[in-house]
Symmetry: C2
DNA sequence: GTCTATATTCGGATAGAC
DNA sequence: GTCTATCCGAATATAGAC
C-alpha cells in the first residue's frame, strides 16, 4: 500500500522482527526510566535482576494475585534477599507502576504509528492488528495490568484507565472516518470500538483458551477485522 | 415460536419479571444452602445480615480487590462486629465461595432452559440473550467471580472455571448444530463460542462503559447475535 | 444473636553487616 | 551491590461477656 513504509508489518513474523520491546531490551528501558529510584547503578546488574523480579512476578501473580504475592514469595522465587529486592523497588507497588509505565509506552507508540498512516481504513486495521501482535509478545505485562490495576495508587490507576480510553477514542474516530467516506451512519461507532477492545483483550487475558484452539495471531487478527467490517457496514 | 412456552422472555423486561434470583430471594437461597455453616438459625436475621455482608463486599472489592478488603473494612461497612460477621461465615474465603455457588446455580439453570428448546438456532439465541439479561441483573456477582476467582481455594477455583467451560462447550455444540442444518463448515465453532463469551463478559465487567453508551440490554443482545450470525455464516 | 477484647500470625519495610 | 536480622503495623480468627 504505502510505499513510504520501508517494509510490511502486516503479519506477525515481520512485526515481531521489528518490535523493540522484547527480551532484555525491556529491562534496559525499565532501568533507564527508573534510574533515580534504583540504588544499583550498574546496568549490568540491574538488567538481570529486574528480569528476575518481573519474571517471578508474572509467574506468581496470575495464580494468586498481586496483593497475595508477598515480597518473601518474590525473594524465594528470584533468589534475591528482601534487601536485594528493595534496591530495585522502593515499595511493592512500584512493581505494578513499572508495568503500567511499560504498557503505556508501548500502547502509545503503536497508536502513534497507526495514526500516521494516511488511509483511515489502513490505519484502523493496522492499529488493531499491531495491538493484537504486541499483546501476544507482551502478554504477561498487559494481563498483569488488567487484573492488578486496583493495586496501583490512585493517580496511576487513572493513568491506566486512560491508556484504554485513548485507544478506544482513537478507534472510534477511525471508524467514523471509514464510515463517513462510505456514507454510513456513525451512531454506534463508540460501541464497536468497545467491542474491538474486548476482543483484543480476550486473547491476552485467556491465553489457555486461545492457544488450545491453535488459532494464530494472524488468523485471530483476520477474524476480528472481518467481524469489525461486518459491524461497520450494518449500523 | 414454541407454544409450549407460557410466555416470551425475548426481551429484558419480561425476562426480569420471571427471573427468580433477585433482591432478598438471593439471600434466602444463600441461607438455605449454607444453613449448617451459619450459626444464626432464624432466616429473619440471616437474610438481612447476609444482604448487608454481600452489598458491602460488592461496594468495597471492585475498588480495592477482595484480598485487600479486610474483615474490619467489612465490619465498618455492614455495621456488624467482627464476631457478628463470623456467625455467617466461618472464614473470609467463604464469602467468595458463596458467590461462586450462586453464579454456578444461575448459569446452570439458564443453560438447562435453553437446551430444552427444540430448535438449535432458538436455543443458541436464547442462551446468549438470557445470559446477557441475567448478568445485567446479577452484575456484581458475576463480576466479583471473574476478578476474584484466584481468591478461592483450589477445588472451588476449578469449579469456577468449569462454569465458563460448560457454557462454552454448550454454545459451540449449538453453533455446530445450526451450521450443520445449513451445510456450513464447523471448523472454527469453538473460537466463535469463545468470542461470544468475551462479549457477554465485557458488558458486566465494564458497566461504566456500557452504561455510558446508553445501549440497552436488548440492543446489546441484538448486536451480539448479529455479529454471531455474521461469524457463523462466514467460516 | 451479637459484641468486645485479645491471641497469633504474617507482611512490608529498614538498618547495618559483609 | 547484596544479605541478615529485626521492627512494627495490620489482618484473621476466637473466647467469652452481654
Amino acid at each position: 500500500m504505502d510505499q513510504a513504509q520501508s517494509h510490511s508489518t502486516a503479519d506477525f513474523k515481520s512485526f515481531q522482527a521489528d518490535f523493540p520491546h522484547q527480551g532484555r531490551a525491556i529491562y534496559e528501558t525499565l532501568f533507564e526510566r527508573n534510574k533515580d529510584r534504583i540504588t544499583t547503578n550498574k546496568a549490568k546488574f540491574a538488567v538481570v535482576n529486574l528480569e528476575r523480579i518481573f519474571s517471578a512476578t508474572f509467574e506468581l501473580t496470575p495464580r494468586i494475585g498481586f496483593p497475595v504475592m508477598s515480597l518473601r514469595d518474590l525473594s524465594r522465587a528470584t533468589g534475591l534477599s528482601m534487601g536485594g529486592i528493595y534496591s530495585y523497588i522502593e515499595s511493592k507497588e512500584r512493581i505494578a507502576i513499572m508495568v503500567k509505565d511499560l504498557v503505556k509506552l508501548v500502547t502509545e507508540e503503536l497508536l502513534a504509528r497507526a495514526k500516521d498512516l494516511s488511509d483511515p481504513r489502513t490505519a484502523l486495521e493496522t492499529a488493531i492488528r499491531e495491538h493484537i501482535f504486541a499483546t501476544e509478545i507482551l502478554q504477561d505485562w498487559f494481563s498483569f495490568l488488567y487484573f492488578e490495576t486496583r493495586s496501583l495508587p490512585h493517580e496511576h490507576q487513572e493513568e491506566s484507565k486512560n491508556i484504554e480510553l485513548k485507544l478506544e477514542t482513537a478507534l472510534h474516530e477511525l471508524i467514523d472516518q471509514v464510515r463517513q467516506s462510505r456514507d454510513i451512519e456513525c451512531g454506534n461507532s463508540p460501541i464497536i470500538a468497545t467491542t474491538l477492545i474486548a476482543l483484543i483483550q480476550d486473547r491476552y487475558l485467556k491465553p489457555w483458551k486461545h492457544s488450545k484452539s491453535g488459532e494464530s495471531a494472524d488468523d485471530y487478527a483476520q477474524r476480528v477485522l472481518a467481524l469489525m467490517h461486518c459491524a461497520i457496514e450494518h449500523p
